[in-house]
């Protein structure tokens, strides 16, 4: 299961599992955002390569108009995936609070 919705202060909150089955749903939501968007991933339990593809596609689109995705609240497990896939070099990751 995956929920993705607009939270307070324009932050997008994503929770659950972002796998191949949920990728289209997440992409549909993220296709609507613009500018610089903070994605709260504290509740994101799992991400597959299909999920990374969704974030990548969104990042490319936003960067095309001087915006970007900023990831906040990343768990150590998620951080490992970003580091091991080199995706930490593609996204601004807010330090854990």
């Amino acid at each position: 299961m995956l929920t993705i919705e607009a939270g307070a202060d324009g932050i997008v909150v994503v929770k659950g599992r972002l796998d191949a089955a949920q990728a289209a749903h997440a992409q549909g939501f993220l296709d609507q955002v613009s500018g610089t968007v903070t994605l709260d991933v504290a509740g994101l339990e799992y991400i597959s390569s299909a999920g990374l593809g969704v974030l990548l596609k969104t990042q490319k689109r936003l960067m095309g108009s001087a915006g970007k995705l900023r990831l906040a609240g990343m768990s150590p497990h998620l951080r490992d995936i970003f580091v091991y896939s080199g995706f930490d070099q593609l996204f601004e990751i807010e330090p854990a609070r």
Partner: protein, 564 residues
Amino acid sequence: MDSRVPHPRLSALDLEAILGVTTALAQPFDLTTMLAEVVNAAKQVLKADRGSVWLYDPAKEELVLEVATGIPAVRVPATAGLAGACAQSRAIINVPDCYADRRFDPRVDRESGYRTRCMLTLPLIDHRGALVGVMQVLNKAGGVFDAGDETLAAALAAQCAVALQRVRMTEALIEGERMRQQLELARDVQMSTLPSAMPAIPGYDLFGTSRPAEQTGGDTFDMIPTQRGLVVVLGDATGHGIAPALSVTQMQAMLRMAFRLGADLATAFRNVNDQLAATLADDRFITAFIGVLDPRTHRFEFHSGGQGPILHLSAATGACTSHRPTSFPLGAMPLANLRPSVTLDMQPGDAVLLLSDGVYEYQDPDGQAYGEARVEAIARSHGARSMAALAARILADVEAFARGAPQQDDVTLVLVARAPATAARRFARRVDALPALFAFTAAFFAEHGVDVALLSPVDFAIEELFTNMVKYGRPGRDEVELALARIAGGVDVALTDYDVEPFDPTQAPDADVTLPIEQRAPGGLGIHLTRRLVEELEYRYVPERREARISFRKRSDPARQGGA
């Protein structure tokens, strides 16, 4: 059969037409032919001037006129006109005078120049109760449609609905089969680009293998000897179906081309990345390890785009170092700044293990992933055996771990090992040769940094096994070979005796160390202790060469001592 409405006018000709429809509909043909067949039969049986079948498109909520004799195809909302009304109510609508019915849409007539008088409209419902389409017949010869025509038309409609569904299913099957064939072809192309034999690089043991998953996966690997050294590639494209299979093949071709043209590692990595970034879909990328091994300097320089972990097993320490990727996956974005490459110093016996995530993420039936720790444990305990054997051990362990859980992703292993430091010398098969054996062993330990704490048990075992050979060896070639190999955390030892009868000291019974001293014989105790001091004591006899070989290994890793 619906027998509520009697049908007194069913002529032999009508019956023949309906039976003709049934027969025609049972034959496999395409949708257009089938619909034309139904409409022609309906016209004949109902003595109608024209007929048409609207197909229902549930995705768009539209009715599609695929066949109408003399009228081109059109799409209308599934609520429009008499056909729409029938689709909504799913009941037969019999209109004797269309221009008096508000639901009738006269535009079709205006466009075609035809004049519709009366019309019978029937829903086509499949056996699961889903609406498939709507059939219409117009202008009955010499009058209007009556209750008898309705019954007849309903029978035809039922035939038509079933046949329609069958044709659609057949088409879906054909489409599925076509997809499967295309996928198979793409996989064949992908697999055919894998090296069929490993290049021979003196002083190195190379092994690569890829086991494709049934449906998906985009793994590739390559080993290309070039001027700069051996190029080693492991790639994994994201996604499912044909696209990843084709994109890794594309990447592999680009890399081969780049290195053949003399590109250095960074140039090849950067250019292939940027080219892939320009051609791959926005949400696709390829994780890839690209390394260049110089077999003269033993430096293994690599860039890794999101491909990790990269495991480096050190023979000297027995430790496994896990390296991170140097960059993001290939094709994710054009490269602005490429971080420095990483260079591994390949010492004798060192191995680099590159495994696709199909290994690390292989799940058992409980959803547990195979993980990195298991690979490291096998690598550390493997020692100086061949990389083909190490790959087989890892694959067997993954299979055991899976307990029958299906392979979801491609599984690819690329193993690169530098030959271990070895030394061998022949010694006279005489007890007074022992000091020379000990000197040889000590020198090997010192030269290759083997833990000196291992020297005593190794010497003990060598002495015991050597003296056994002296004692039981028959006259012949009076030499014994002592071979040493540096392995992770220790040493591999083999003594080979030539031109002898088989005699396996490892089968000697254990000495009974509980007997009182006066009952104990000196024999047997040496082997008894050897078995406890060293690991993997093995005897092999080759009858053709009358050759007896006894080997063991000794490692300082305390975790390994427990089971010995």
